[in-house]
Each structure stands twice: as structure tokens, then as C-alpha cells.
């Protein structure tokens, strides 16, 4: 298990907290914990989903990021208007690598940026007229769009524009779904509330569109993939496995997804939920309203994948269960070869993670398949139900940090000395300059997919490529290196 004992880890947390003023120290102490398998409920050991302390470096996003960036943005045949000043849309444009099939600008709009570009006069006199004009322009220039969503930026809520009225009016005029989303950035403490608001907008404005329409032929094997955003093609790598099992994937939410798929989702037999944090709301709603069961699954690493595939198959009849075993058996030799190749190169290496959504717990199994150990993990914007699930996955006496600050993360890394860090772009260069191999685990560092069997092979290769890269022992200038210098590691307390 972890190389640090419970007491050592606890002492480390205390030491890191020393620099804070009394109040901040008390506050931050609640967000850092040592994992203990005996604790059943995370609320007893960790506080989450609270406002970040002013003055620290936090890595969180805003509600707009959660709605436009995560949930709505990847729906490819809708146009998502970033309603407000130009920056929010422009600086988040196309950065998430949620792949899709289609001709951008003709029938798909994923990587484009549509904004109402608010100026002073729009703030003073209101922007509803501008929004109307914008929707008219979109209809002229991009007539093949299947719908529009209006993603509010901060000023919309502050000046009290009535985007719902404009959306209703224009929606009736063009006979298309136009969805107003009240995801102003100032709402909530992180992007997490944006997911919730986006889910509620889906529920209120699109989900029931085909409730009275039974022309679509359903089968007994219809499923929907929820909470897979197709980063680097993730959803495709997952989808083929489900299809091989004999299931019919009706909808992908929302990576490479369409509005028509979303409208058909209430007719499926089972909702498969990958990212619990961003889509549990809509899954619960569909369970209540349409009686569709939902289950969480994990497609990272062969061990977890086999578990998940069997769990999915258990919902269906024996023909599916047989095919499920066939799929697992088919990929087993391939996976064994991957593990045989990379495990000796990665065995025993320590990893620290700090990501969002589902990955801080879901990728643990994939690392373990490669013989690596996750010694610390944390979420940017998780709630307590995420930590409930994490406690079981993590080793005893490992570090868990919620909304970790830049300072804390650096200090933890200096002391725990992991061999690899998985986090985002904002952390990447700090740690690389400290001489620690780093992978961006939000966007798969421009690689991917990492889901599914195909993804695991890429995952293993990428981890090896990063960790065993010869550059890591060239960080010290040759004239400064003594003869027996090994790969430099960042020293503690510098």
C-alpha cells in the first residue's frame, strides 16, 4: 500500500496548513484528509462543494464552463450562443477536444464560437434585441442547425435580460428548439452548478419533445450513454463495445451527440452513466418520470471494464450476457499483451491525481492494471457523493484533497514525491519544471481515447512514454551534475 503511514500523511497535512492564517487554516483543514476505509460516509472526513478561499490559487471553473463547456457544448448539431461579452466564448472555444463527425459550419458547429459580443450599450439598454437579431442571423447563415441554446454569461443575470421570452418567441417563429440556459458564471461555487443548471434546461426544454410520438421503433436492447464527452474519441471507443454486446446505443450525451438523440433518450431501456457528477440529475429525472433505470459504469482499464460490462449485461437477457463474455474474452489476449509490455516499465510507480468529474476515482483501476499506485487524488468540484465513491477505490492512508490550492498541491508533491502527476494544463508546467513527469488528464494531453479496450492500449503507451522519457534526467546542466547524479527530484521545503 502507500509508502506513507497514516500518521505521516496526517502530519504532512498539518505541516502544509501551517502557513495559512488561523481562519483559512481551519477552513482548509476540512478539505484535506487521509483516506480511511473504515469511514463509510465522506461527510465525516471531508467537506466539499464550498466556496474557494479568497486569495488562493484555485483551479475551478464557473457555471458557464459547466454548462456551455461540458454539457451543452458537445451537442454538435445545435448552435450554442455565448450570450454576453466576447471573451468567455472565445477563450473556451474548441479547447476540450470533444470529437464529432460532421462538416463544421454546415451541419455541425462544435468548434465554432457564436457570441453576442456585449458592449456598454447592451449592458445599459439590455441585450434582448441583440439576441433576437443574432438568432435571425444564425438562421440565415446556418440554416441546417437543429436548434439553438443561449448560454448566459454573467452580465445577463446582472442586468436581468429576459432570454426565456426571446427564446420562446424565436423558437415559435422558426419552429426549432431554442433553449435558454441560466448558467451565469457567478452562480454556485464551481462548474458543478453549471452541470446542474444545464441538466435542468435539458429536462425543461428538450427531453419531453417526443413524449407523445411513438413512431420511433424501440427495441429491447436500447441504451443511452450519458456523461461521456468523447474526449479524443472516448465515446466511440466505448460505444463499439456495447454494440458488440448486442446493445443498440441510441444516444450519446453529449460527446458527438445530437438534439434528436437527446429527445429519443426517454425511450431507451437503460441509461449508462459514465460521468456521475455532470449527468446524475437528468438520470434521476428520467428514472422518476419515465422509469428508466440508470447505472454507473467505468470503462478505464480491463479489470474495471470487465466488471462494468458484466454489470451492464446483467440488466438484459442471456443472449447479451453470452455476447458480453465473448467480448471480454476477445479482447483479453490484446489486453494481456499490453500489460505484459508496459507493466515491467511502470510497476510500482506512484501517481498523484487532481482532476474533475469522474476521473479521480475512475482511472485508479487503469493505473492498478499497470502495476502503478495512486497515492493521492482529489476533485476540483466534487460533492460528497463523489467522495463516498472515492473512499472505496483509494488505498488506505492515501491523501485526498478537495479543491486543492496551488500551494498545497505543490507542497504535497514535494513531500510525497510521486513519479507521475495527472492534472490539467494550469498545473502542467509547474510540475514539469520541478522535474516530475506530467500528463494532462482533462484532455488526455492531446492524445486519446482512453476509454474502452482500444483506449487502454493508448493509455498504457502514453503513461510509459511520459514516465520513461529520457528528458527527465537531463534537467540538470551537465557541468553542474556530479558523477553519480540520478534523475533530479524536487526537494522538499525549497
Amino acid at each position: 500500500m502507500s509508502s506513507m503511514t497514516r500518521e505521516e500523511t496526517q502530519a504532512l497535512i498539518q505541516e502544509v496548513l501551517e502557513v495559512y492564517p488561523e481562519k483559512a487554516k481551519k477552513d482548509r483543514a476540512k478539505h484535506l484528509t487521509v483516506n480511511d476505509h473504515e469511514v463509510e460516509q465522506s461527510k465525516k472526513c471531508i467537506t466539499s462543494n464550498r466556496k474557494s478561499a479568497p486569495g488562493v490559487m484555485t483551479i475551478r471553473g464557473c457555471a458557464y464552463a459547466g454548462s456551455k463547456g461540458v454539457v451543452w457544448g458537445p451537442i454538435k448539431d445545435m448552435i450554442h450562443i455565448s450570450h454576453g461579452p466576447v471573451g468567455c466564448g472565445q477563450y473556451s472555444r474548441a479547447g476540450r477536444r470533444n470529437y464529432y463527425v460532421g462538416t463544421t459550419g454546415i451541419n455541425t458547429y462544435g468548434t465554432m464560437n457564436f457570441t453576442s459580443d456585449f458592449q456598454e450599450k447592451d449592458i445599459v439598454f439590455g441585450g434582448d434585441k441583440k439576441l433576437e437579431k443574432l438568432i435571425d442571423e444564425i438562421e440565415t447563415l446556418f440554416p441546417l442547425n437543429k436548434g439553438i441554446s443561449v448560454q448566459s454569461e454573467c452580465p445577463i443575470g446582472l442586468i436581468g435580460d429576459d432570454i426565456e421570452a426571446v427564446s420562446k418567441k424565436k423558437g415559435a417563429e422558426y419552429e426549432k428548439p431554442i433553449v435558454p440556459v441560466r448558467c451565469e458564471g457567478f452562480r454556485g461555487v464551481s462548474q458543478s452548478l453549471g452541470h446542474h443548471i444545464a441538466n435542468d434546461a435539458v429536462r425543461d426544454w428538450t427531453l419531453g419533445a417526443r413524449d407523445d410520438d411513438d413512431t420511433w421503433e424501440a427495441t429491447d436492447y436500447d441504451v443511452a450513454i450519458l456523461g461521456d464527452y468523447n474526449i479524443g474519441g472516448d465515446a466511440w471507443a466505448s460505444r463499439i463495445l456495447l454494440e458488440e454486446m448486442g446493445l443498440r446505443v441510441v444516444a450519446q450525451w453529449s460527446g458527438d451527440g445530437t438534439i434528436s438523440e437527446m429527445e429519443l433518450t426517454p425511450k431507451v431501456k437503460l441509461n449508462l452513466l459514465h460521468c456521475y457528477r455532470s449527468m446524475n440529475y437528468i438520470s434521476r429525472h428520467m428514472e422518476e418520470k419515465y422509469g428508466i433505470p440508470w447505472m454507473e459504469y467505468n470503462f478505464f482499464g480491463p479489470t474495471k471494464m470487465a466488471e462494468s460490462l458484466r454489470k451492464i449485461a446483467a440488466f438484459f437477457d442471456e443472449s447479451i450476457q453470452e455476447k458480453c463474455e465473448a467480448v471480454i474474452a476477445k479482447y483479453k489476449p490484446e489486453m494481456d499483451a499490453v500489460i505484459e509490455k508496459y507493466r515491467p516499465r511502470l510497476e510500482g510507480k506512484k501517481v498523484m491525481l487532481y482532476i474533475g468529474g469522474l476521473r479521480p476515482r475512475h482511472v485508479i483501476g487503469a493505473y492498478e492494471d499497470l502495476g502503478m499506485e495512486v497515492v493521492g487524488t482529489g476533485y476540483e468540484f466534487a460533492h460528497n457523493d463523489d467522495y463516498d465513491r472515492t473512499i472505496k477505490e483509494m488505498g488506505d492512508a492515501t491523501l485526498i484533497y478537495d479543491d486543492v490550492t496551488g500551494f498545497e498541491f505543490e507542497e504535497f508533491v514535494k513531500r510525497v514525491k510521486p513519479d507521475l502527476i495527472g492534472s490539467g494544463i494550469k498545473e502542467k508546467y509547474i510540475f514539469q519544471k520541478m522535474g516530475i513527469p506530467f500528463r494532462q488528464m482533462h484532455s488526455w494531453d492531446y492524445s486519446g481515447p482512453y476509454h474502452g479496450y482500444d483506449g487502454f492500449a493508448i493509455f498504457a503507451r502514453d503513461m510509459d512514454m511520459t514516465l520513461n522519457n529520457p528528458c527527465w534526467n537531463k534537467l540538470k546542466a551537465p557541468w553542474l551534475a556530479s558523477d553519480d547524479d540520478e534523475a533530479p527530484v524536487a526537494a522538499a521545503g525549497e
Binding site: Y281, R284, E287, E288, G291, D385, D388
Partner: protein, 70 residues
């Protein structure tokens, strides 16, 4: 008076989900649990107690109900 969604878990136990608190715990005991009524004091596995006037006929789960602290 939080809205609580009650759904069936994997082992057919009832789960008590309070969205605002992200709390989801199995129900341990229900005061009135007959074929034609459901409610009263509901005890969760974490020890907390909630109250709802018994509903008749018994609701079908999943459903959302409003509970009070007992």
C-alpha cells in the same frame, strides 16, 4: 422541508436522496409500511430521522416526496 427522491437501489432497498445535500442513504426503517399506506417516521442507516404524513395508497417508487425533520 427538503424534496427527497426515493428510488430502489441495487439490492431492492429504498434509497433516500436529498438533492440539496448530495446525501443518498438507504432507508433502514419506515414507521408505516403496509400495502395501502407508506410513511411516518423514516429512519436512515446513518441514524437521521425524517417524517412524512403516511401516504395512501402506497406510492410507487421512484418518486419525489417532501419530508420534514422528525
Amino acid at each position: 422541508m427538503p424534496s427527497v427522491m426515493i428510488r430502489k437501489g441495487e439490492d431492492d432497498e429504498l434509497l433516500f436522496y436529498i438533492a440539496k445535500k448530495d446525501q443518498e442513504d438507504p432507508i433502514e426503517k419506515v414507521e408505516t409500511d403496509t400495502d395501502d399506506a407508506w410513511g411516518g417516521v423514516v429512519t436512515l442507516t446513518d441514524g437521521s430521522e425524517w417524517y412524512i404524513d403516511p401516504i395512501s395508497p402506497r406510492p410507487s417508487f421512484p418518486t419525489t416526496l417532501r419530508f420534514k425533520r422528525a
